[in-house]
Every structure is written in structure tokens, then in C-alpha cells.
Symmetry: C2
Subunit: 308 residues, 2 copies
């Protein structure tokens, strides 16, 4: 009898496999290191083989996969970090496990993080949400009417590449410049800080460190360092601008802030909303903002949500 | 037997009532002038009374209403042009016609125009689309997975108020400045043209007219007037920027351009895409763009789509 679902989050370093019962309760988590050899060609085989050791495939009803790259209509366009180009995971995995009846769905991991937070996290009960993950880059995920939105090119929720900054116009990995990611991600905050340190004479504890992290900038800002505060305020100004634009497109019930930068909690949320509201009034007087609660498990829960 | 649906588009000047069979074929259109007296309190009664003269309410299965204002969860927030504040059309109309079994849904008219184009217009066959209507203001509508997206405050698809312009920073009806509407709507094009005429010495036929329309600017641009071309190019640059942002949020299958300005056809689409693609590459190499085909009937078709 098919009584389990699996939510699988494939990352560039490790893979998390969540075993869920049909009601969506997490029963067990299996992890394995991501095998990047030969353009990641062993990844799906190793996932199948690990699962086989733990559960009978005959008992699995559906599998959701989250991958670090654009996905549209269940087809992966590319996952640079895994070495994958275009890939039909659903067909390949069914072939590997010799099971044609299993339901397999695939989506982008940032979109699934949003789905996870709706399913079992801070956005539980909401059906329209936008999640932004401030880490090395900026990931974001879109849920409308309870459904994960991929976009025709798998680019829905890629607000990291919205152009926001003409002042510093820092170059982005995508080949353009001035993208949100260049100023508001953890990496972006550090880049922005270095620009501020160059152009300003203001004293700051930051000047004592040859290298520093976004967390250091945030901690100093919290503790009263004026220049550090200006930097974080500016970074969150850019993010507030971008989220205002998101609201004019889908007007979500809730924004979820995740990733390393979100550890700063209300301090960050208050800065974002300070810049967000003047841009959306008088149309919007209140939007929910919340810090993500599922951390690295969000993708796994979201992958399960995808097939529930 | 309930064998008809109605799609009703309530505008500030007139109301269009489309009688559809259950398969969505338009059988007949009834129109009436919008009675704005006493804060529009007679509007629903007059609609009911006109329908009653034409069809037996017992034969109507469902009614979709489109209104010129924000709607969320079937409740109108306000329709300034009609004199309406918060209004539960579905309950009021059921009360008026003494029929509790009829299905009634309500949505914003710009969102329904998008739905109409998906249902019976240029976007037929697509399920994710974003429509922008360039008229006196800028209306826009969002369809994701075939569903009309309202947004929690009814503000989904209000890209007319995305901030795009820091150069001219023209004041907007919404109380802010630099909104897309101030530079890319028909009215906005004229405002932008007047700014260009003031700041530039370039000769232009536009200088011969004390007043001119957006159509005049477009016609002159098409016929080789350099300054007129610069103005339209700039207006469509702003629009291209806004649509790039829309793509990073929902990555629609197709953008539909409607409203008076869209009568310029490919000329306008080519200018928009010229500014759009550099902002979305390398993530998006192709997006469909099309000129709306249903004109003022789009809302009526969309209202029927809402309840089909």
C-alpha cells in the first residue's frame, strides 16, 4: 500500500530526503552528500539507492524534488551547481526505480522554501506568499492561491536580479549590474559596506577589520555604529523597493524573510517596512512580514507540499 | 433549467451585460448607462431590472461582475468612479433578485480584461498572463495558472504605481510621484512630452500644437519626428523596466498590451521589448508580447470566465 510521500531537497553540498506520511507528518530524514562527479550523473541513482535501503518503493505514493535552478513544467532547465543541464527528473527517476505509477513533481528550491513555510512554517494558513532568502545570493519563491509559481522560463521569484541600484551599480554574476542581489544579499551588504567605507570619512568600527561579514555589519549597526547602520538601512531600502514592486504585481498575504541576514529578526524587518510602506501607500496600509522558521528544512517540507 | 451565465462589466459611464451559454458563447449584449446618483446606489437594481426584462433569472447559473476598483475575496474595497465604498455585490445582488442559488463572483475590471483575453482573445490557450492597459491611467491584470489574482488588498496588477522615474518625478493621483502611470499612460506620454519640449531645443512638429494627444506624439514619432520619437522611446523604456520586474516576479507566458496607446501596434511593442530584454537576459530570452484584441468587450468576457 502506498502510504508515504517523500520531499527531497537537492543542494550543491548535501541532499535531504524527508519521509512523510500521507497527512504530511515528517517521520524521518535521510541525508547524503551531493556527488558532483561527472556533471552530477550519479545524484539520482544515489538518492534512489539510499531510499531503497530505508523504505519499500511500493509504499511511496509521490515524490517532490527541489533543485537549485530554474524549473518549468516539471523540467529542470539547468542546475549549474550540480553540473546539470536540461533534465527530466521525473522520467529519469521513474526509470531508475522501475515504477511508473509514482507521482513525481519538481520545482525550484527557493520556490519550495516558500511552499514549506506555508505548509509547516511561519506562513501556515496563508495561500499567497512571497519569500525572499538573503544569503550568498538572493533566492525568492512565489506561492499564489496555494500553488508554487514557476513561470514559463522558471524565472518566477527571481527578484535578486531586479535592477534597483544606479548609485553603485555593482556588477552581478548574471552579467548585468545594479541587481538587488549586489546590494541586499549577505554578500551584497559586504560589497555595499566596502563602497561606503571608500566614499565616506565617517568613523566606524568596520574600519578595524580588513574583512568582515554581513553579520558583523548588522551587529555593529545594532550596537549604534552610525556608518554600519547607514549601510544596512540602504541595503534594506533597496529590498523594500523591490518588495513594493512585488506587491504591485501579486499583492501577497505575507512576505517571509529567510537566509542568514534574517537572523537579525525584527531589526531587519523594521528597516524593510520603513522603506516599503511609503512606496505602497495609499493602496496598502498593512502587509504581513515574518522571519522564516524552517531554516534549511523548508525546501524538504516544500517538496512534500508539492505532491500532497 | 439554468443554462446561461452572465458577464457584467460595470464602468463609470456604461455597463455591459453579456449573456453567455454554458459553453461560454456570447449570445447577446445588453447595455445601460451607469447611474451615478446617490453614490451609485441604483446601479445593481437597474442591472437586475434590465436582466429581468431579457431573461428569466431561473435560467441563469452564474454571474461574474467586473468593477473599476480593488476587489479581494469577492468583496469590493472601493470604486471611486461609482461612488461605492466597501461593497458585497454578491450578497446584495442575491438579495435583489431573491435567488440564493446563483453563483456570483466579483473581480477588478483590469484583472478581468486579462481574463477575457485568455478566454476569448489574443492570449487564448495561455494560462499565465499579464495585461497592461495604457489609457488615461494604467490598468493591469494578472492571471496565474488560469486564475485571476486579486491580491490580499485587491492591489495585484497595479503596476501603474510602481516607481520608475526619478528624472521627472511627476506627481501622481495616488499622492506619490514618479509612478509608471505618470510617464507611460496616454496621459503620461503627454506629460512627458511637455517636459521634453521645455528642456530641449530640438525642433519638433509638436511645438506647433498648444495641446496634443498621446496619439499625436506616437503618429509624429512614427513619421520621423526625432523629439517625438525620443519621448515615446522614453515612455516605453519606463514600461519595459516595469514589465521586466513583473517577469522577475511571475515570469508570465505572455504580456498583453491594451488601451488606446496599444493602437500603435508593433511600433509600441518593439519599443517595449527593446528596453525589456536587456533587463531580463540571460534568464529570459523570449517572452510573448501581443496587442489586446477584445477592446472594451474584454471585461465582459473576463467576467464570464470568472464563473465558467
Amino acid at each position: 500500500m502506498r502510504k508515504y510521500n517523500l520531499g527531497i531537497d537537492i543542494g550543491g553540498t548535501s541532499i535531504k530526503i524527508g519521509l512523510f506520511d500521507i497527512d504530511g507528518n515528517l517521520l524521518e530524514v535521510f541525508t547524503l552528500k551531493t556527488n558532483l562527479r561527472d556533471h552530477g550523473r550519479y545524484i539520482l541513482f544515489e538518492i534512489a539507492s539510499l531510499i531503497k535501503k530505508k523504505v519499500d518503493f511500493q509504499e511511496i505514493k509521490a515524490i517532490g524534488f527541489g533543485v537549485p535552478g530554474p524549473v518549468a513544467n516539471n523540467i529542470v532547465y539547468s542546475c549549474v551547481n550540480l553540473g546539470w543541464g536540461r533534465k527530466d527528473i521525473a522520467s529519469e527517476f521513474k526509470e531508475i526505480i522501475k515504477d511508473d505509477e509514482i507521482l513525481i513533481k519538481v520545482a525550484n528550491d527557493a520556490n519550495l522554501a516558500a511552499a514549506g513555510e506555508i505548509y509547516k512554517g511561519v506562513a501556515s494558513g496563508y495561500s499567497n506568499c512571497f519569500m525572499v532568502t538573503l544569503g550568498t545570493g538572493i533566492g525568492s519563491g512565489v506561492i499564489v492561491a496555494g500553488r508554487v509559481v514557476d513561470g514559463i522560463n522558471g524565472v518566477a521569484g527571481e527578484i535578486g536580479h531586479i535592477h534597483v541600484d544606479d548609485d553603485y551599480n555593482l556588477s552581478c554574476n548574471c552579467g548585468k549590474s545594479g541587481c538587488l542581489e549586489t546590494v541586499s544579499s549577505a554578500t551584497g551588504i559586504v560589497r555595499l559596506a566596502n563602497e561606503y567605507l571608500k566614499k565616506s570619512d565617517k568613523p566606524s568600527m568596520l574600519r578595524k577589520f580588513p574583512y568582515f561579514s554581513a553579520k558583523k555589519v548588522i551587529d555593529l549597526a545594532k550596537s549604534g555604529d552610525e556608518l554600519a547602520f547607514e549601510i544596512i538601512d540602504k541595503a534594506m531600502n533597496y529590498l523594500g523597493q523591490a518588495l513594493a514592486k512585488v506587491s504591485y504585481v501579486i499583492n501577497p498575504d505575507i512576505f517571509i524573510i529567510g537566509g542568514g541576514v534574517s537572523n537579525a529578526g525584527d531589526f531587519i524587518v523594521n528597516l524593510i517596512t520603513k522603506h516599503y510602506y511609503p512606496l505602497v501607500k495609499p493602496f496598502i496600509n498593512h502587509t504581513n512580514f515574518a522571519i522564516a522558521t524552517l531554516g534549511n528544512d523548508a525546501g524538504m517540507f516544500g517538496a512534500c507540499y508539492l505532491v500532497k
